[in-house]
Amino acid sequence: MIAGPLLLLILPLAVAGIVYILLRWTSIAGLLAMIAALALGFAVITLPLDQPVRFWGGRQIAMGEVVTFFGRELVLEPDDRVAMAFLFFTSAGIFFLAWRFVPHSLLHPMGLALLSLLSGALLIRPLIYAALLLEIAAALSVFALQSEDGPPSRGGLRYLTFTTLALPGLLVTHWLLERYALTPDETGLLGMSAALLALSFALLLGVVPFHTWVPAVTNDGVALAGTFVLTIGNGAVWFLLLDFLETYPWLSDHPRFATLTFSAGLAMVVVGGLLAPAQRRLGALVGYAALVDSGAALIALGMDSKLGLTLAFMSLLVRPLGLILVSAGLSGLRARNGGDDDIDTLRGLGRQAPWSTAALIFGGLSMAGLPVSAGFVWRWALCRALALSSPGSALLVLLASVGIIVGVWRGLAALLMHPRAPEDRSIIPLRSPEGWLTAAVVSVTIIACVGVGLFPQALTPLAVQLAEAYTFFTP
């Protein structure tokens, strides 16, 4: 019998090895990575936890079986299923677009290896090992973030640096809490743990002033790998944070929890909203848009209510749609502009790469939370909820969206301009050089993004189900 948790760890690693060997055949490698991620996502969602399932050859898989790995427990609990499925399905989406936009990068094999590590981080008990697995994942993401022919990725280095700085806090907290369990009179240990956890998660989530790694990962290197970090990696950090809050309810009961989380989120929204329109490079704009989105999710968590938690989950579920699209567009435009994404140099490129431009614009609008896009679904609900309790914050969230729209508009204006030199105009082909396959892939993703915007009820029950699994906000 094969234990499910072990399968979720070993299978992505094994497929990563195969994909690395097949990297020369880009379509096979890309599609294999996507199919593996999809299959694991479906397995997590559909296979029952309470009984083994028989597969071909008489082999049985027991998804709910607890596995002991080097003396630590790996367990897939019912509440973890949606989180795990989120990781796998989002990865499949990223691999799907990476197949067309960055087929030669290391994203496919490294992404699968990262999936294995991040799954391990969500499945392993105690949580101390999750911190170590996250750190190993951050070190591996440097390889995925580095583009083939570009300069060394500053984003990868910064991400690794901030994750490493966050590690001691998480590990020492575990020891402090174990000591508190033995000596409950020492309440100072709880205060110290809370401070260390706050600092560590601020570093991991890119809270201002530790946000510099967020625009850096999208500014250089492989944009879709940056998206992997900001959706899958960030998602794993969010689920880890919520696991901490669930395991140690005194954290969410702390009198300063709501204020601190809310203020941190607001600072991210304000900084992101102010800096997004001032960027000269589209990569940095995407990073600041992601910062605003992350900040808004923290504001939702800081509302200290079940509704806020549901909205935070909604943000996690819809963020990949916008971010994947915008990064795919960015990759396509960079590929046609010698790796540069400076707005001034992109003049007229929209005519040569219409599908990349469309992906960039639809993704950017979703990141800004504009109507008829996936991002609107939760951003509007957040603004409505905030309008009652904190109208000033609601206004700031809306203004941050305006900041992102201004940035996207500048990019669009440059892309749709006529090329400066007449000789450049003469080489504009009548048919898009991006190919029908790229057009199909982008179209499917745009339809998914708009579809979620028009029919949010497809994702809302999942967010509600996820929020129901956590009890720390229950009165």
Partner: protein
Amino acid sequence: MPTLVDLLERVSFLAAMPATAGLLVTAGLLVVSRDWRLNVTALTVQYFFVVLLLTRLIRLEVAAVKGLTGWMICMVFYLTERRASVLEQSSDAEEKALARRWILSARASFCLLAGILVSVAAYTAALRIPLPEVPTDITLACYLLAGLGMLLLGLSESPMQVGLGLLTFLSGFDLFYVALEPSLAVAGLLGAVSFLIALATAYLRAVQIAAASEGRAL
């Protein structure tokens, strides 16, 4: 023939303040110097002093394994930088070195001053905020390594310097954390983290060299 463990036992008399002083010197060198030979040597000696201090907190064999991991990391850095220096020699080396000497002296003075400030802060912190479960000299060593490691991170964006900074910071934390959590699994995972950081930074350094070579070729 004496084993590594025997050798460590023989020099165990250094495993107190002399080792801490050694760490101050090696980490200080990493902050001030940009010469890769000096840096790799300083890192190698730094791991030696860390292992000496670790022998007071954990079993000698485990400390020796941690030391071996550290020295393997030094080997990775050595091989990467050696290759880089061969490729860089093709450029106008003499002119560059002359210019660098002047640039270095101003930069090195600043780094030295910053290093002294951080060391004083670490000394004060060791006296005022002692770490639990570890003696004072190891507390000082932890603060020194963590502080100077963070200083290295702040002073440069070059992959190798960042790598050296991260590894110095992690060494300081490891020295403290083994006293709290002596589990072999955690020790192994921390070793893996250090090794992967070294590989990632060496990879980025290789990319940097390749990009520079291509730039020159064009």
